[in-house]
Amino acid sequence: MARGSDTAPAEATPVREMGRGTRTLLLVLALAALIAAPFYVYPVFLMTLLCFGLFAAAFNLLLGYTGLLSFGHAAFFGGAAYFTAHAAKVWGWPPEFALLLGVIGAAGLGVVMGAIAIRRQGIYFAMITLALSQMFFFACLQMPFTHGEDGIQSVPRGRLFGLIDLNQTLNMYFFVLAVFLLGLLIIWRFVNSPFGMILKAIRENEQRAVSLGYAVPAFKLGAFVMSAALAGLAGGLKALVLQFATLTDVAWQMSGEVILMTLIGGIGTMLGPILGSSIVIALQQRLATSDFPVTIITGLVFMVCVLLFRRGLIGELAHSRIGRAMGLRPPG
């Protein structure tokens, strides 16, 4: 073979291993912080952060790791919130089964919406998911079990496995933390699995993946349903935390918000969506009592982030020297 520009293969490997220890250390510290947090910060606020962090991470599974921009994820989040709330309140199901119903319901919605939208590309895909989620919104508005404008209120948290009383705030917090970590673990495994490898190949060169015999729509649908199910997990959890499910959760603004959260933090990173959602939620809570219109502020934050940090906050950090030393992986 002729000498090309690529004659130094030896130095290709170590970059990835660098900072591995630092990364483990950071993970342990983060975990410790999450365990200690409810003793210093208002737990319901923390739980809200965890719910929306999981929602954004689930959304990012689709946008960041599959390359599909959905504008209809509120249907899964809000739909699951309704299912979980209804099962817990009307049927008196224990929280773990109510949550499971929310996940299954969201996955079912994901199968239907995904099957219709998946063959479209780019903006058409986004438009179809938006249209379908709007149809679901109106269905929720009309159906009696959602109680229209009132929503489902005073959802009981119940006893986990019939044993642990989730009305105890700390119990609830650690349950939410466990579900949040489980959700992230599932996303991590999904992305770093044999299936995830094919998803990555499809994202990098779809035509080539087809020419190798991969049924691309089936892989995209798989990722779509997984993302929907996890968004449902977040939505159901939110219904138990805040003890209500309303039309706000299924409205198109919620679909927009999760896009915003993910882009601010950085798509295609594990931490980006969590940081992004924390910023947005914190802003919303801060400004909730002021006269300032929240949407304008979050919109401004979004614009600044997109203009200054095109890869998102975590994406830029991962590309920087500091990020590398910390063992963060750049997206891609």
Partner: protein
Amino acid sequence: MDALSQTAEPRVVLSARGLGKDFSGFTAVNNVNLDVRHARIHALIGPNGAGKTTVFNLLTKFLQPTRGTITLMGTDITRMAPDAVARMGLVRSFQISAVFPHLTVLENVRVALQRPAELHTQFWRSLKALDVLNGRAEVLLDELGLTPWRDTRAADLSYGRKRVLEIATTLALDPEVLLLDEPMAGMGHEDVHTVADIIREVAKHRAVLMVEHNLSVVEDICDHVTVLQRGEILAEGDYATVSNDPRVRTAYMGSEA
């Protein structure tokens, strides 16, 4: 069995009859008949815009033909999806190099191996599950001289090596028919020779249809040549026959020589 059938050409594995494609009124390919045979290298040549890539897209079902039929190993594939055709053993490369840029050389080849090994749907297993494919992948890398770049990202390879990696990935599927769209375009002399040797070697056990502009390569390694012009077949035969055809000389080679 008489002597004739013993010297007869090997079986046809891919054939097209009356193949045609219109792009909103413009006929890019018209009435193309092709017979691609096992263990033979078949060249598709012709000036730029003649419709060679379009023929490839039709044969591999990346484009739906407007007219005609395509048969792969006795099965009519005219209405099939491109991924299904690939799974039947008709695998193509692309005119513009098609690797997975952010995957390593090893991972590129493994992506191809994952499907036949049924390691493509598991979303609950660790990436370590793919290590069982390393042995087979490394053999391929070794055969094509890519071993030193095993863990290099494909994006960091030289152009020539990207094309070799593409061939390695294609061969990983052990296809019955190989379609190569300008596999040597933009390569240096040495690379051209290496790739020509590789193609000659792999064609011992499979059919190869390739688009190639380098006529000395065509003369060197191809058994059969089809000349395309403005979407239609202008001439056909072995290299000597085709290159002496006066129509081919004026239409194509005149500008080359």
